[in-house]
Symmetry: C2
Subunit: 165 residues, 2 copies
DNA sequence: CGCCTTGGTTCCTTGAAGGAACCCACCCTA
DNA sequence: TAGGGTGGGTTCCTTCAAGGAACCAAGGCG
């Protein structure tokens, strides 16, 4: 779909989008997480082109997000399962889901809810500070360059950290 | 880029991706958040085609994520600023950024870090339970249908909740 | 006047998405 | 042994979005 790869940008959002932000990919991961682990099941559920699905699954396996695992031999059959890296990505998608619940669900309410096993309650995923545990919002945070930043000479402003070259 | 719209799926991830998951869109929002609010600045920073940028900005304004605001008249000039809805989306992107920091940053480390104003520390955004405040992971949660779910007859399994039709 | 800046729009080419057909190994049943 | 079903794709063709460059218009500005 894209000609421009985002993988080489010095930005963790860009690199995440490059691997997991292609069209359909988040929904494929959602399906796998919810138990649709086989090619035909995912294809039928999403209505995605088989060609596109094959490509996305290959990319996710190469990226270490999914594992292609045989569940029987003779005839050889396999399923796709989330790796640790993939489960961690699903966790991040919970934050996107919560945003969608808040802003796009409308009167019908959220299509899916999450029950937190440890506390037993229906949970709204929140983005919180790892240090103090309080809500981490865009307004309550100040971005600064990290060790992996590539600052370009002759420019200024934080966003210049993420210039493509 | 896509022919298939995800907007009508009964899934908050799909609806979020439909609006904010197009190629370049997360990076545009990142730039606006970091202070690159003008067309030419964003275009130069990302190296994106002007046509694509114009389309993305229009879609984000229509979707209520950005606001197109004049900052001077004569000559008329305007900038793009995040709405409340947009700032909340940036917050969800923090979770994606944290994933990228963990899994794609490599030895160089994260390109950007966030200092939490209220506690003063460098924060790693975590996805936490709104109820008990503890970490919310993919493994520690049980999905169940919400009020907005559309269960299809003749199928089974949670993922069937999100079938396209 | 001619040039610069901002904020786009138009045009053309390339390449990804969508859709349908096809394929192959293996199994089952009659 | 023929025929049909299933899982997991691949091939082919058409359509439409992305990329890139040129163009444009309103308003300064020297």
């Amino acid at each position: 779909m894209q000609r421009t790869s985002l993988a080489d940008m010095p930005c963790s959002i860009a690199r995440t989008v490059d691997l997991a932000g292609e069209w359909w990919t988040p929904l494929i991961l959602r399906d796998v997480y919810l138990g649709l682990t086989r090619f035909d099941d995912i294809q039928a559920n999403l209505g995605i082109s088989r060609k596109v699905l094959a490509g996305r699954l290959e990319r996710l396996v190469d990226g270490g997000v999914l594992e292609r695992r045989p569940y029987q031999e003779r005839p050889p059959r396999h399923e796709y399962v989330l790796t640790t890296k993939g489960l961690d990505l699903v966790r991040a998608f919970f934050a996107l889901m919560a945003w969608g619940d808040r802003w796009t669900a409308g009167d019908a309410g959220p299509p899916m809810r999450l029950r937190h096993d440890s506390c037993g309650e229906l949970a709204t995923p929140e983005v919180a500070c790892s240090h103090c545990g309080k809500p981490l919002t865009a307004e309550s945070v100040t971005p600064e360059p990290g060790p992996g930043a590539r600052v370009r000479k002759g420019t200024s402003g934080l966003a210049q950290l993420f210039a493509r070259t």
